[in-house]
C-alpha cells in the first residue's frame, strides 16, 4: 500500500473467553503508579517469550 503503512494488525486477542487472570492488576487511580490496561502485557505470552529467549540463549 502506498498511502497506508501497517504498524500492527489485530492486536485485540479474543482467543480466550474469560482470560486466565494471571496478569498484573492494573490500578488506574492517580495516587499509585497508575497503569492503563494498554501498557500491560499478557502474562502467558510474556512467559512464553521469556522461555523461548532462555532456550535460544542457553
Amino acid at each position: 500500500m502506498k498511502h497506508i503503512k501497517t504498524i500492527v494488525k489485530s492486536t485485540i486477542d479474543r482467543s480466550c473467553d474469560s482470560g486466565c487472570g494471571e496478569c498484573q492488576t492494573s490500578c488506574q487511580s492517580a495516587c499509585k503508579t497508575s497503569c492503563t490496561v494498554g501498557n500491560q502485557s499478557c502474562e502467558r505470552k510474556t512467559v512464553k517469550v521469556n522461555k523461548v529467549e532462555r532456550e535460544i540463549q542457553g
Binding site: 500500500m1 502506498k2 498511502h3 497506508i4 503503512k5 501497517t6 504498524i7 500492527v8 494488525k9 489485530s10 492486536t11 485485540i12 486477542d13 479474543r14 482467543s15 480466550c16 473467553d17 474469560s18 482470560g19 486466565c20 487472570g21 494471571e22 496478569c23 498484573q24 492488576t25 492494573s26 490500578c27 488506574q28 487511580s29 492517580a30 495516587c31 499509585k32 503508579t33 497508575s34 497503569c35 492503563t36 490496561v37 494498554g38 501498557n39 500491560q40 502485557s41 499478557c42 502474562e43 505470552k45 510474556t46 517469550v49
Partner: protein, 445 residues
Amino acid sequence: MVHTFRCIGRIFMLDTESGSLYEIDELTKLAVDRRIAPDEVSEGAFSCYENSEIAAVESEIDELIKEGVLFTPARTYPKPVYSGVIKAMCLNISHNCNLRCEYCFADGGTYNKERKNMPLDVAKKAIDFLVARSGKRRNLEVDFFGGEPLLNFDVVKKTVEYARGLEEKHGKKFRFTITTNAVLLNDEVTEYCNREMYNVVVSIDGRKSVHNCVRKTVGGQDSYDIVLKNALRFKQLRGDRQYFVRGTYTALNTDFAKDVLALNDLGFDCISVEPVVLPETNRLAIKPEHIEILKKQYDELAEEYLRRKNTDKHFEFFHFILNLKEGPCEAKRLTGCGAGCEYVAVNPDGNIYPCHQFDGNDDFIIGNVCDGTFDTAIPKRFAATNVTTKEDCTNCWAKYYCSGGCNANAYNFNGSFDKPYRGACELMRKRIECALALNSVDSEN
C-alpha cells in the same frame, strides 16, 4: 470505530475493535475522517489532490475494511459476571506518614481515621485471606502502601516472610511492591527491596521548587533534599531491577514535562508523573482550562522522549509504555482494574475495601480479615461494571486501552461507577495517542 490522530509530526490511524494501527498520509486522513464524519470534512479539502490519487486511497481503505482490520464493527458482550476470585491486595500497612503533602487523598496518611500502623497479626490474616480467596490463580500481588509503609518496615518484612512461607504449600507466587516517599529509604531498606520487591515506587515530584511547594515534612519543612539524596542512592543500588520514580502534577505546574525531564536529568530513567485528582475548588486541582495545555505537554514530552532515545538519557515514561503485540487479552481490556473484585485494599484494622481509594469510607467496607466477614454485595456492584456498561466509553476509541478508568474517581466525582471522571479521560486519550505513536517508532527498529 476508527480514530485518526497526529503525534510526533506523523499521522496515525487506529481501528478500535481490531486494535490495528497504521501510519497514514494527509490524504488518507482526510478520506478516513470523511468516512467517520462526512459533514465535518468539506469537499474543498480534497481540491489539491488528483482524482486518481483519491481513488487509490479509497481503494486501500476498502481493502482493509474487506480484510476486517478497519472500521471493524463493534461487538456486543454479555453482562459481566462476578467470579469471587481475588488476586491482588493493597495492604495499607501504615495509616501514618512522615510527610504532609498538600494534595494527599489520604489526609496525611490517616484516611480520615486515627494514625496507626497495621499489627503483624492483621497483616498475616490479610495474606491468609488473599490466599484463601485466590482460587486457582498462581500469581498474587501485594502492594505495601499507606501512609508511608517504611514507618512500619518491620511488619513489612515479617509479612513478606510469612507469605513466602505459604507459597509452596499453596502453589502461589507472591509479587510484592512498595510505594514510599523515600524519607526513610536507606541502604538496608534498598537491599531488602532488591531481594523481595518486584517493583519499588519512589515519590518525588520533579523540580525542587515544584516538589517543595507541596511535599512538606510534618513540621512544614521542605523535603526535596533528603528525598532526592535517598532516591538517587536507591537508584544506584537498585541496578536493573524494576522501579519508578513517580510524581504528581497539579495546577501549579502545568508545565510538568519539565519535571519529567528534570528527573531524567538527575539520573532517573523510569519515570511516572500523574495528574492530581482533587475537587475543582482546591487550588491545586486540574481544571477544564488546563486540559489543552497539559495535552501539549504530553506532545512535547513524546518528542523529547524520541530525542533522548538511544542516548545516555534514554528514559521510560510510564504512560508511554505500551505492549502493542503482547498486550492484554480482550477479557482484561474489558474489566480494567478489577477493584472490589480481583483487587481489594485492607487497612490497619483489617477492614476490606474495594481499593485503597475507598479506605476510610465506611459505606464501602466489604468485610474484615480478622473476623472472617465478607459480604459479596459490594464486590458484585463492582463486578457489574466494566467498559461495556459505561455509556461514555462505548463510543470512545481508547476503550480497550483504558478499560473505563478509575471506578473510585468515577464514584467520587459523579456518584456512579458508570460515569467516568471526564477530566482524566481527556488526558488518558492523549497519553494513549503518544504511546501508540512512540511504539510505532519502536516497531520500525
